[in-house]
C-alpha cells in the first residue's frame, strides 16, 4: 500500500462544522457513515446507480458514493439526519413518507427523501412526470414506486400548506 496521504478538510454537515482528517480515496459516504457515524445514509451499489447514498451538497442531489470526501472542503452537506427539526418533529417529507407508506424495507428511503428534498426546494409543485425524472436514479428494490410518488406529492402539498 502506498504511503498514506492524509488531508484535512472543513465540511459543514447538517449545519455543524467539522474539521476532519481523511484519506484521498475515501468517498463522501464513508466520511458520513464512518467518520461522523451518520448511518442514515446507506451504501449499496457503490457505482452511482442506485441512489441509496443520496445526500444534498450545496443544494444539489449528490451520490455520496461517487464523490471523494477530499473534494468536499468548504462544502455544505445535508443528510437525512439533518432534516428532522430541532423540536424532534418530522420534516414534512419524512411525515409524508410515514403517512403515504413511502417505505417498505426502508433501505432506499433516506436516499429517496434527500432526492425529494432537492427536488421540492427547486420545484415545489412537481408533476408526476417531473417526480419520475428527478427520482429516476433512485432504486427501490421492493418496488414501492407508486407509493413513493404518492409520498412526494403529499410532501409537496404539505410544504405548500406550511407556507400558506
Amino acid at each position: 500500500m502506498p504511503d498514506k496521504q492524509y488531508t484535512t478538510i472543513t465540511i459543514t454537515v447538517n449545519g455543524d462544522v467539522f474539521r476532519l482528517e481523511i484519506e484521498p480515496h475515501w468517498t463522501l459516504t464513508r466520511l458520513i457513515r464512518t467518520s461522523l457515524g451518520l448511518t442514515g445514509t446507506k451504501e449499496h451499489c457503490d457505482e452511482g446507480a442506485c441512489g441509496m447514498c443520496t445526500v444534498i451538497v450545496d443544494g444539489r442531489p449528490t451520490l455520496s458514493c461517487m464523490a471523494l470526501a477530499a473534494t468536499m472542503d468548504g462544502r455544505n452537506v445535508m443528510t437525512v439526519e439533518g432534516l428532522t427539526k430541532h423540536d424532534g418533529k418530522l420534516h414534512p417529507i419524512q411525515a409524508a413518507w410515514v403517512e403515504e407508506h413511502g417505505a417498505q424495507c426502508g433501505y432506499c428511503t433516506p436516499g429517496f427523501i434527500m432526492a425529494t428534498k432537492a427536488l421540492l426546494d427547486k420545484n415545489p409543485t412537481p408533476s408526476t412526470l417531473q417526480i419520475k425524472e428527478a427520482l429516476g436514479g433512485n432504486i427501490c428494490r421492493c418496488g414501492n414506486y407508486e407509493f413513493i410518488i404518492n409520498s412526494v406529492h403529499a410532501a409537496a402539498k404539505s410544504l405548500q400548506g406550511d407556507q400558506a
Binding site: M1, G40, A49, A103, C105, I139
Partner: protein, 810 residues
C-alpha cells in the same frame, strides 16, 4: 366479530416507518462497536479449481493484520475445492478495512484450474465436465411425492415418497381419454438476481462467554443454531440481532454459509455460499474481539446466488371438449448451479398440482436438476414457480385458442375452489392427512381484473396493424404459504398501565408483518395500536419462530400471537373476577386498559387494580405473561391466490415494450392493513425487471459474470411499468385468527407468462425466453415474417422452433 374490529383492517403506520424516514433505523450493516476489526474475503476467480498452495506470509506481515483464515486453520468454513467464481478461499481480519483489502491482494494462491461448465445446455451434454464428480450434470430429482387414497371429498389422504415423479393418477390413461391434447416446449427463464439491497454480512462479538451477532438474516432463530455450531457454542450463549432488515427476497436465510461444501444434496435456501457471517464468527471467537465482515462490492453481492434459474420446460395438457382439464404432464430441468437438487424443486412444484387440481385426474411432473459451476437459486418470492409457470400459463392460453374459449373462461372452468386438494410435494413440510384450500374466490379476482382492463373488448393479433400494436394478456397464479409443521411461539407481557409487549421472531424485511402482529395483539387485548410494542429483532428478547420465508409469516405467526394474548387475558380476568364480584372470568372483557363486566359495563376496574391482586406489594405491579404456541397441521392450508393481467404496446420496428401496465389482484382473505397489502403487490415491479432485461450474463469461456453492476444489470426503476394493485377479501381463512392469507409469492409467478400472453395478443408471436429484450422480440418478429412469406399461419403460432402440437383424438 368483524363489525367490532377496532385495529385489524384499520390504517396504521407501519412498524418502524418513522425510524426509516429519519435514518434512525438500525440495520445490521449500521452496527459498529468500539475496537471493531474488519474482514475482507478472498474469492476464487475461477469457476472450478483446487487449491494447490496458499502463502499468506506477505499479507500477515502488513501492520494491522490480526488474523488470516484459510482452509488450513478454518477448514470447517473454507474449502480447498472451488466450484464457482466467488467461492471463498481466505479471509483477512485487520484493524481497518483498507488494510484488510490490501492484505488480501498479497496472499499468493496457486490454483489448479479444472474444466468447468456454466451454460446449462452445455452441461447436459454427455461429454460435459461434471460439476460434482461421479454425478451426471442432468440429475433426476428423486425426492418425489405420489398422492393416493382419495376420500369421499376427493381429497388425497396419503402422500408417499417416490423417486420418479410427483403426481397422481395415470397420465397415459388420461391422454387416451382426452378430447384435445395441447403440448409445447422450449421455454427458458434467464438467470435473474434476487433483488436485495443491503449487502450480506455480519458483525460478530464474542466476549469469552457469549457471542452476539448482528446479521442480515430473516431467520434469526435458525441462524442461531448454525452460528453456535460454527462457534462451538451451545445456543443459549448465542445472541442474534436483526432489528431492521432490507428486503429479503430469499437471500436472507443465512444457512448455507455455515454448512460445509460437499456433494449435490447439501445446499438449503438462503444465503448461497456467502460465508461472511461464518467467517466473522470464527474470527471473533479466535480473537475475542468484535469483527465486522460485509461483502465489499455490489459485484460480490451478485456472486453467491441467483433468484431464478434457467429452465427447460415441456408441458402436455389433456382436456375434455368443454375445456375441463383432466390430465397434466410436465417435464422440467432447472439450472441448479451448485446448490444441488433439493430445495428448489421441493418448493416449486406444489403449485402445478394445486392451481388446476379441481378437475385433474392425472398429473405427472418429472424434474431434473442441471448442475453447473455457478452458485444457485435462493428462495426469491415464487421460488421456482415463475420459471415453469412462464410455460404452463402460456400453454393454457394456447389451449384456450385451440378449444375456442376465452383464456379467462378456461381458467374459471378449472381453477381450484375452497375445499379442493392442496398438494404440497415438499418434504420440508409434513403431510399427515388431507390438505385443502382454506379459502378464496379466484373467479371474483378474475372478474375484477376483466372489468379493470376492459378484457371483453380485447381483439386478436390478426386484427392489429401499424408499427405499435397493443396487447392484453393474463395469467393465473397461486402459491401455498409454507405448509404442515411450521409455526411459532409468542409471548405477550401485559403492563399495569394498560400497555403490552409482544415477543416473537417476525423478521422485519419491510412487508409490515410486525405491524400485523401488533394489530392482532392490540385487537385481542382491546388496546390501541400504539399501546402495543413488538420485540422481535433480538433472540435474547424474543422467542422461537419459523423463518418468515415463503410469505408465510401471516400464517406462521398469526395464531400464536392471538393465543398468547388470550392466555394473558385469562390470567387478567382470573385476577379481576373477585374484584368485580363475578363468578366466572368469562363474564369479563377488556378495552383500553380496563376490565369490565360484559353484562354491566359500568362495573369496571383499571388493569392496575387487577395486577395488584397477586399478593404483591403496592409498588410491585409485576407483569401478566401469556404464551402462545402454534404449529400448522393438516387440513385447510394458507394459500395465496391471484391473477396478473398485463396491458402493453409492442414497437414492431425496435422490439421494445412500451406503456406497460400491470394489473394484479390477490384474494388476501382479509387485509390487516390496506396500504401494507397494496405495497406488497407493488413488489411485482422487481418481477417485471426480468421481463424487461435483467438477467445475469456469464461469459462462457471464463465463467465470469459480465454484468454484476446496476449499470449493466437493469434493476427495476420508476419508469419501467405502472403497477395497479388490487385485492379482494373473500373472508375467513381458518389458518389465521382474522382470516388472512400470505401475500408476496404468487405475484411473481404470473407476470412473465402474462406479459408473454400480452405480446402474443399484440403481434401473434409466442415469446419463450426471458428477459423479453428487443433482440428476442425482433428475432421472433423476423421469423413471423418468414413464416408469413411461406404461407404459414403467422398470427396463430409462429416465431419459435417448436409450436404447440395439437392432437384431436375424439
Amino acid at each position: 366479530m368483524t363489525s367490532a374490529l377496532r385495529v385489524v383492517g384499520k390504517p396504521v403506520h407501519k412498524q418502524g416507518d418513522q425510524l426509516r424516514a429519519t435514518g434512525q433505523a438500525q440495520y445490521s450493516s449500521d452496527a459498529h462497536l468500539p475496537g471493531m476489526l474488519h474482514g475482507s474475503i478472498l474469492n476464487c476467480p475461477y469457476p472450478s479449481a483446487d487449491l494447490v498452495s496458499i502463502d499468506t506470509s506477505a499479507a500477515a506481515a502488513v501492520p494491522g493484520v490480526k488474523l488470516i483464515l484459510t482452509p488450513d486453520n478454518c477448514s470447517d468454513v473454507l474449502a480447498r475445492t472451488y466450484q464457482y467464481i466467488g467461492h471463498p478461499v481466505a479471509c483477512v481480519v485487520a484493524t481497518t478495512l483498507d488494510i484488510a483489502q490490501h492484505a488480501i491482494t498479497l496472499i499468493k494462491v496457486e490454483y489448479k484450474q479444472k474444466a468447468f461448465v456454466v451454460d446449462p445446455d452445455e452441461a447436459m451434454k454427455p461429454d460435459s465436465p461434471q460439476v460434482f464428480p461421479g454425478f451426471d450434470n442432468l440429475h433426476p430429482f428423486d425426492l418425489c411425492s405420489h398422492f393416493s387414497e382419495r376420500n369421499e371429498q376427493g381429497l388425497f389422504a396419503k402422500r408417499e415418497a417416490a423417486t420418479d415423479y410427483d403426481g397422481f393418477g395415470d397420465v397415459e390413461k388420461g391422454f387416451a381419454e382426452a378430447d384435445v391434447i395441447v403440448e409445447d416446449e422450449g421455454y427458458r427463464f434467464g438467470l435473474a438476481h434476487a433483488p436485495v439491497p443491503e449487502r450480506r454480512g455480519g458483525l460478530a462479538h464474542f466476549d469469552g462467554e457469549k457471542l452476539t451477532v448482528w446479521s442480515t438474516t430473516q431467520s434469526a432463530q435458525q441462524t442461531r443454531g448454525y452460528i453456535g455450531s460454527v462457534a462451538g457454542l451451545q445456543i443459549h450463549n448465542v445472541r442474534v440481532i436483526s432489528e431492521f432488515n432490507s428486503g429479503s427476497f430469499g437471500a436472507r436465510g443465512d444457512d448455507t454459509g455455515f454448512l460445509p461444501d460437499s456433494g449435490p444434496d447439501v445446499a438449503f435456501m438462503g444465503a448461497g455460499h456467502d460465508k461472511s457471517v461464518a467467517l466473522a464468527v470464527k474470527a471473533s471467537v479466535m480473537l475475542l474481539k468484535p469483527v465486522r465482515i460485509f461483502l465489499s462490492s455490489n459485484e460480490e453481492n451478485f456472486y453467491h446466488f441467483w433468484g431464478r434459474g434457467t429452465t427447460y420446460c415441456r408441458v402436455k395438457l389433456g382436456f375434455k371438449k368443454d375445456g375441463t382439464l383432466t390430465t397434466w404432464d410436465m417435464e422440467l430441468a432447472v439450472n441448479s448451479g451448485l446448490f444441488g437438487n433439493r430445495w428448489t424443486f421441493m418448493f416449486s412444484n406444489g403449485t402445478a398440482l394445486m392451481l388446476y387440481s379441481r378437475n385433474a385426474e392425472h398429473v405427472r411432473i418429472k424434474k431434473y436438476a442441471i448442475f453447473t459451476n455457478t452458485p444457485g437459486q435462493v428462495g426469491w418470492c415464487g421460488y421456482g414457480n415463475p420459471e415453469y409457470m412462464f410455460a404452463t400459463e402460456q400453454v393454457m392460453d394456447q389451449a384456450a385458442e385451440i378449444l375456442g374459449m376465452d383464456p379467462v373462461e378456461l381458467r374459471k372452468k378449472n381453477h381450484m375452489r375452497p375445499g379442493d386438494n392442496i398438494l404440497n410435494v415438499s418434504r420440508a413440510y409434513a403431510h399427515t392427512g388431507p390438505n385443502w384450500l382454506g379459502s378464496g374466490d379466484i373467479s371474483a379476482v378474475l372478474d375484477l381484473l376483466m372489468e379493470e382492463t376492459d378484457w371483453k373488448s380485447r381483439k386478436p393479433a390478426s386484427e392489429k396493424t401499424g408499427v405499435v400494436r397493443h396487447g392484453l394478456g393474463m395469467a393465473l397464479t397461486c402459491q401455498q404459504c409454507a405448509g404442515e409443521g411450521v409455526g411459532s411461539n409468542a409471548i405477550v407481557k401485559l403492563n399495569h398501565d394498560g400497555t403490552a409487549e409482544l415477543c416473537n421472531t417476525y423478521a422485519d424485511t419491510g412487508m409490515g408483518g410486525r405491524s400485523a402482529c401488533r394489530q392482532i395483539a392490540a385487537e385481542e387485548l382491546g388496546l390501541t395500536f400504539d399501546k402495543v410494542r413488538i420485540i422481535a429483532g433480538d433472540t435474547d428478547a424474543s422467542v422461537w419462530g419459523t423463518s418468515n420465508a415463503c410469505s408465510g409469516g401471516t400464517m406462521k405467526y398469526g395464531w400464536a400471537v392471538a393465543l398468547a394474548c388470550r392466555d394473558a387475558l385469562k390470567t387478567l380476568f382470573e385476577l379481576s373476577a373477585p374484584l368485580l364480584k363475578v363468578a366466572q372470568p368469562s363474564e369479563l372483557a377488556t378495552v383500553d386498559g380496563e376490565v369490565f363486566v360484559k353484562a354491566d359495563p359500568t362495573r369496571r376496574i383499571k388493569w392496575e387494580q387487577a395486577f395488584l391482586n397477586q399478593g404483591n406489594n403496592d409498588i410491585d405491579h409485576t407483569q401478566i405473561v401469556g404464551k402462545g404456541v402454534w404449529i400448522m397441521g393438516s387440513g385447510p392450508q394458507n394459500t395465496e391466490k391471484a391473477a396478473t393481467f398485463v396491458s402493453l404496446d409492442v414497437d414492431t420496428e425496435t422490439g421494445q415494450l412500451l406503456n406497460v401496465k400491470i394489473y394484479h389482484c390477490a384474494d388476501v382473505g382479509r387485509a390487516l392493513n390496506a396500504k401494507d397489502t397494496k405495497a406488497q403487490i407493488l413488489r411485482i415491479h422487481h418481477g417485471f425487471e426480468s421481463v424487461l432485461g435483467a438477467t445475469m450474463i456469464l461469459d462462457k469461456a471464463t465463467g465470469r459474470l459480465l454484468n454484476g453492476s446496476y449499470i449493466d444489470y437493469p434493476v427495476a426503476t420508476m419508469w419501467d411499468c405502472d403497477v395497479h394493485p388490487y385485492y379482494i377479501e373473500s373472508g375467513n381463512d381458518p389458518t389465521h385468527p382474522y382470516g388472512a392469507v400470505g401475500l408476496g409469492q404468487a405475484l411473481q409467478n404470473g407476470i412473465h407468462a402474462a406479459t408473454a400472453n400480452a405480446i402474443y395478443n399484440a403481434i401473434g408471436v409466442r415469446i419463450k425466453d426471458t428477459p423479453m429484450t428487443p433482440d428476442v422480440i425482433l428475432k421472433a418478429l423476423t421469423s413471423m415474417g418468414e413464416q408469413a412469406v411461406n404461407g404459414a399461419g403467422a398470427a396463430t403460432q409462429a416465431g419459435n422452433e417448436s409450436v404447440p402440437r395439437v392432437c384431436e383424438t375424439a
